[in-house]
């Protein structure tokens, strides 16, 4: 059973979002890390780069495959989790404590399109 944390928002691409004012931390969910398998490399996006919702910002590599990291929100990257450069496996161990990037939102109304914990839990049951 995948862990889903209350109070976060979720995307259909299995990213979680923690909103703090006009900024949001984004990571991958427990469901996503379990699907990926052991993560060996997290490519971090560039700070100050602008992205639109659903853009590929970077990638995450597991033993088996490379997967895109999709931003569920539009905006500017204002921070990245550099710890993941050396310990990418912490995404497997504690996915909700290891965001990948922080984005400054250019359109806060996009938050309404994301799921809450209960909705995400239902969503992964359908997969």
């Amino acid at each position: 059973m995948s862990e889903v944390v209350k109070g976060l928002l979720y995307s259909e691409d299995h990213e979680w979002v923690r909103v703090d004012g006009n900024k949001a931390s984004v990571g991958i969910t427990d469901f996503a890390q379990a699907q990926l398998g052991e993560v060996v490399y997290v490519e971090l996006p560039e700070v100050d780069d602008d992205f639109s919702k659903d853009d590929e910002v970077s990638s995450i590599e597991s033993v088996k495959a490379a997967s895109a990291i999709i931003t569920p929100l539009s905006g500017t990257i204002v921070g990245v989790n550099e710890d993941l450069e050396d310990t990418p496996e912490s995404v497997n161990g504690a996915p909700y404590e290891n965001p990948i990037f922080v984005i400054e939102l250019s359109d806060e109304s996009e938050l309404e399109g994301l799921m809450d914990a209960a909705a995400y839990e239902e969503f992964i049951k359908t997969l």
Partner: protein, 374 residues
């Protein structure tokens, strides 16, 4: 999807992750994960279900000459009880498959082929290769025994100890030799000292219906040695560290064994074999490509198919890549132009999804075990 006779055992292990591997539902890893399974084989022992592999029995008059013609290596030099690795080539020199040959007796062989190639190989061996249409040649009997056998690989430095607790002859079995009448858990097995991990180890072939019994017997015998079940994920990273080729990656119909740096398994000095003329010609003309090893200088996994550059010059492509658990580096094999002046230590670039990442040419294999191997 196809399932091996051992499916019922491992599908009940908690945490097993099953994938579709060329039409076979097989474990990519167990609860422990790929890296732990990899390390178990390097340090202790691991058990693999490789029953998806194909087995052809070649038997009766003509077998010696036929098998010698069919593959690149010098089968005529084999003694009974010997195992040999070889390439089966098209007349073009490209590779139909790579295989392991067991010489059981005069005019009797077991050929072990890749799962994804069973049908193609069977057609090639029985109908399509030039020997078949040559009326002056004697054609042996060929039987596809792929479904009749379970194949289990016991690999790692502690494999010998585990086998010895079940069979007193384990220690004496030399590298690339086999014994067809080893009794494990009451079941008669063919046991060879072979493997696909770069470690010491054994491979067992036995009747499908007894697969579960022998698997459980081995798991029980290996309990104290740290034996764990391993999946295809670890099998792939283990073979890559040891630079053992994988068909579809380092070998294809468009890559010759000489280009894949497997000339040691190509016997150009002895008798004729299918593809020999083309390979002699390629050698005379200059082998155009070479299989080299890289370690990434920039982070990223060099995956199969990615292009390899030096500046604007396209040098070739990646055939396999992974994070090496032993080296803790991103490593890869690349098929690149020969004669381009590439030297060990040179920096080249891998196009990883549109971004150029630096890599260094290094010696292979990436990892070589230092343990016993006769």
């Amino acid at each position: 999807m196809n399932r091996t006779p051992l499916y019922d055992v491992y599908s009940t292990y908690p945490g097993v992750k099953l994938i579709d591997f060329g039409g076979w539902e097989l474990p990519v890893n167990f609860k422990t994960g790929i890296i732990a399974e990899h390390m178990a084989v390097r340090n202790d022992a691991g058990l693999f279900d490789v029953s998806h592999m194909g087995e052809f029995l070649v038997d009766g008059p003509g077998s010696d000459d036929f098998v010698d013609y069919l593959v690149s290596n010098n089968v005529a030099s084999m003694s009974n009880g010997q195992v040999m690795y070889a390439l089966m080539c098209y007349p073009s020199g490209g590779v139909v498959d790579d295989l392991i040959i067991y010489k059981r007796a005069t005019d009797s062989y077991l050929l072990v082929v890749n799962a994804a190639n069973i049908e193609k190989d069977l057609a090639w061996v029985t109908c399509e290769n030039p020997w078949v249409t040559d009326d002056s040649k004697v054609m042996p009997t060929i039987i596809n025994k792929s479904e009749a056998y379970v194949q289990i690989a016991l690999q790692g430095p502690k494999a010998q100890g585990v086998m010895e607790s079940l069979w007193s002859g384990a220690k004496e079995l030399e590298f690339f030799r086999f014994n067809e009448s080893v009794v494990i858990g009451g079941i008669e097995c063919l046991v060879s000292r072979t493997g696909y991990t770069g470690e010491d180890g054994f491979e067992l072939y036995l009747p499908s219906e007894s697969g579960v019994t022998v698997w459980n017997t081995l798991m029980e015998a290996g309990k104290d040695a740290g034996l764990i079940p391993c999946g295809l994920g670890a099998r792939d990273t283990l073979r890559l560290e040891s630079k053992l080729p994988l068909y579809g990656h380092e070998l294809t119909k468009d890559i010759t064994p000489l280009e894949a740096n497997l000339s040691v398994f190509v016997s150009l000095e002895s008798g004729d074999f299918c593809g020999k003329a083309a390979l002699l010609q390629q050698k005379a003309d200059g082998i155009p490509r070479s299989l080299r090893g890289i370690i990434m200088e920039d982070k990223g996994v060099p995956r199969a198919g990615y292009d390899v550059y030096r500046g604007d010059e396209l040098l070739g492509h990646v055939t396999s890549g992974a994070k090496s658990p032993m080296l803790e580096e991103f490593v890869g094999l690349v098929m690149v132009k020969r004669g381009a002046g590439l030297k060990l230590g040179n920096i080249i670039e891998i196009d990883i999804r549109g971004k150029r990442k630096k890599a260094k040419l290094v010696k292979t294999p990436f990892y070589k075990n230092t343990g016993r191997k006769k």
